[in-house]
Structure formats: C-alpha cells, structure tokens
C-alpha cells in the first residue's frame, strides 16, 4: 500500500522528470527556462519528502526565485524566439554522445540496483529530529563549525564572482575587436 508520502514522491518525481526532459527538448529557450522552474519547484518538494524543509525553502529562494529568473530575464533581453539550429549536428558525434549517456545511465542504474535495492527503506526519524527547527539548527552548527573554512571560501568566491560578472558585462565588444 502506498503511503501519501510515497505518492507525493512519485508525483513530484514524475513532474520533475517530464519537465526536466522539457528543458532539453523544447526548441524555444523560454519554454525550457519555464520547464526548469517547474523542475526546480518539484525538486524542492522532493527535498521536502526527505524532511529537508530548510533546504527546500532555500532551493525555492535561490534557484526558482533568483537563478532561473536571471535566465528568463536574459533570454527575454536577447529576444530569442524559435531556434533553427536547436541541436548540434553530426551523426557520429551525436551517436557517441547518446551512446555515452546511455551507457552511463545503464551503469548507474545497475549499480544502484545492485547496491541499494536490497537496503531497507528510510528509518523513521525520531520525533525530536523530525522537527525542522532541530534539523536546521544542526545544519547551521555543522556549517559554522566543521565547514566554516569552506563557508568563508565560498563567501570570497561569491565576491570574486560578483566583481567578475560586473566586469564582464561592462565589456562592449565580443571576443575580437569589432572592425
């Protein structure tokens, strides 16, 4: 018997897969971007089924609320409509690409099936741990103690990125000087 949480997972998983495929297949990049948004939201929901509510919220704020908005905005600025050359050409190249992806998927699936299919499902968390407050506090504790160095480095990286992005966007020409 499927529990409601299981049902939720199947539903969100299906949504994320369908719209993930949509990102790849839509010929209009705007639709790709909107599909990406829906995928992001459903992935946030999947995080929720795993009791990671804080991460789910952050996923909504950062990915769905900021990063993808940026994508959509840039696409709209470029005024890109239907693309003629959506996919790369070359029978051999595309064949190799598809084959590599298929082999990879097959191997991953086999490996997961061989390793984890017999594993028990998730143990129910103790009542205290399910409380999102506690989980969030744990996350913050390990973020600001064990991983404090990485955290600071990421901060510096963000600063660098901000400066770099501003500099890049101020360049007027392309890669070669306009003639």
């Amino acid at each position: 018997m499927l529990s409601s949480a299981d049902f939720l997972f199947y539903f969100l998983g299906l949504v994320s897969l369908v719209f993930g495929l949509g990102v790849v297949l839509f010929r209009n990049p705007i639709y790709s971007a909107l599909c990406l948004v829906i995928t992001m939201i459903s992935v946030a929901g999947i995080f929720g089924t795993l009791d990671a509510w804080f991460i789910a919220g952050v996923q909504l704020i950062v990915y769905a609320g900021a990063v993808t908005v940026l994508f959509v905005m840039v696409l709209m600025l470029f005024d890109l409509k239907h693309e003629m050359k959506t996919f790369s050409k070359g029978v051999i190249g595309n064949g190799v690409k598809l084959a590599a992806s298929g082999v990879l998927l097959g191997m991953l699936g086999t490996y997961i099936w061989a390793t984890y299919a017999t594993e028990p499902t998730f143990k129910p968390l103790p009542a205290a741990a399910t409380s999102s407050i506690k989980a969030t506090k744990d996350l913050a504790t390990s973020l600001f103690t064990t991983y404090i160095f990485s955290f600071e480095v990421i901060g510096i990286l963000l600063l660098v990125i901000a400066v770099g992005a501003v500099t890049l966007s101020r360049i007027t020409g392309g890669t070669h000087h306009a003639d």
């Binding site: 990102v23 790709s32 994508f71 693309e83 690409k97 992806s101 744990d138 990125i161 392309g174």
Partner: protein, 108 residues
C-alpha cells in the same frame, strides 16, 4: 516480471534512480543543445540531480553533512549562472546569437 508491491515502497534507491535520470537528461542537454543559455540551464539541472542524491544520502545516513554540501552546491551554482550569463551577454553583444559555436572564437 512479477510486480512486487514492496518494490514500490519508496527507498533510497528510488531517489537515486530519479537523480541519475535527471542527471543524464541534463548531460544530454549539455551535449546536444546549441544555445549557451540552455546549456547553462542543463548544468543547473545536473546540479539539482546531484543535490537530490546528496539529500537522500543525508537522510539515509541521518547526518547533516549532505545538506551542507547541497548548500555549497547551490552557492556555486548561483555563482556559475552569474558568470555564465555575463559571458553569454558578452558573446551576444558581438554576434547577436548565443550559439555555443561562437565560443570557438575564444581560441588563440
């Protein structure tokens, strides 16, 4: 193959299947699409797929380390999107198109 009702109960493996499928979708997009911005979006898709498995393992091992990792991945993804889009804008200003082939002009 007989359908085992127990197999439909959601466990770690289901999350991993989902994660690998999404990852392969993203990879196909990166490999096949021409539009730089779509490629960037597919990279985000791949990162999301990885995040799912991080969170699933974190839940499975009952430790927060996986969530910390996801935190970092999100930060990096945001940064990567910013720089990637800035590059795309630069390329677009020159060629009025954002085809990946234009990055070939970067050589030399």
């Amino acid at each position: 193959m007989p359908i085992n009702p127990e197999a439909w109960k959601v466990g770690l493996d289901h999350y991993l299947y989902l994660s690998s499928l999404l990852f392969i979708f993203g990879m196909l997009g990166v490999l096949m699409r021409r539009n730089v911005i779509v490629i960037l979006m597919c990279i985000e898709l791949m990162l999301n797929a990885v995040n799912i498995s991080f969170i699933a393992f974190s839940r499975y091992a009952e430790s927060t380390n996986g969530q910390v990792m996801v935190f970092f991945v999100m930060t990096i993804a945001a940064a990567e999107a910013a720089v990637g889009l800035a590059l795309a804008v630069t390329v677009f200003k020159k060629f009025k198109e954002v085809n990946i082939r234009f990055f070939e002009h970067l050589k030399g």
